[in-house]
């Protein structure tokens, strides 16, 4: 079974530029999550989708971050414009519906904002 795929793996941009990350979850997983992990900390949830609907985006900085999952499968996370403090690893995870909600993570995208 293929795992969660993410691209790109690394991205370096200047502040005020835009950037987008892509995630393809495990086949059949209805729920998709984006997390931000700042160096030295645990991951923090940004947004949760169930199929193509948003379940929780309470911690997403909506003035600059946006995310979509139009067809209920893959997803994109965008930052526009980027700030220095956005430098982090962006992790995507997925889980199946039901009582057993184990999440599986992709390899992440390491973003550096200069």
């Amino acid at each position: 079974e293929a795992g969660v795929a993410q691209s790109p793996r690394y991205k370096i941009i200047e502040k005020r530029q835009s950037v987008a990350f892509w995630c393809n979850p495990i086949s059949g997983h209805a729920t998709l999550y984006w997390y931000q992990q700042i160096l030295g900390q645990g991951p923090k949830l940004l947004i949760q989708f169930q199929n193509n609907g948003v379940v929780d985006d309470s911690q997403l900085p909506k003035d600059r971050f946006s995310a979509e999952r139009l067809k209920g499968v893959d997803s994109t996370l965008k930052i526009q414009p980027a700030k220095l403090e956005d430098s982090a690893v962006y992790l995507c995870a997925s889980s199946s519906l039901g009582a057993y909600n184990e999440q599986f993570f992709g390899p992440g995208t390491r973003l550096t904002v200069l």
């Binding site: 645990g42 991951p43 949830l45 949760q48 057993y100 184990e102 999440q103 993570f105 992440g108 390491r110």
Partner: protein, 105 residues
């Protein structure tokens, strides 16, 4: 929101030693996972354990939900066990700050 505390923050072992990592959480939970983040940043699932005890090779975990803690046991540690171990709770996964484990040869 729920708080997750992990201890110790750092742990240094000699190869072959055993260790216990602890995760305390501030409220009842329906979901708890343990992860190992390797030096390349990949989060590897170790256990999905909202309650009870599970074992997988040299690793085992116990969650006592009524007392709001979980323990991860590593026996006969190897250098490849080095990395950061995270506990995370609830469906949206609230993470602790992790335990950084270094196993020296």
């Amino acid at each position: 929101g729920i708080q997750v505390e992990q201890s110790p923050p750092d742990l240094i072992l000699q190869e072959g030693a055993n260790s216990t990592l602890r995760c305390n959480f501030s409220d009842s939970v329906n979901n708890l996972q343990w992860f190992h983040q390797n030096p390349w940043g990949q989060l590897i699932n170790l256990f999905y354990i909202p309650s009870g005890t599970k074992q997988n090779g040299r690793l085992s975990a116990t969650t006592v939900a009524t007392e709001r803690y979980s323990l991860l046991y590593i026996s006969s540690s190897q250098t490849t066990d080095s990395g950061v171990y995270f506990c995370a709770v609830e469906l949206e996964l609230v993470f602790g700050k992790g335990t950084k484990l270094t196993v020296n040869p």
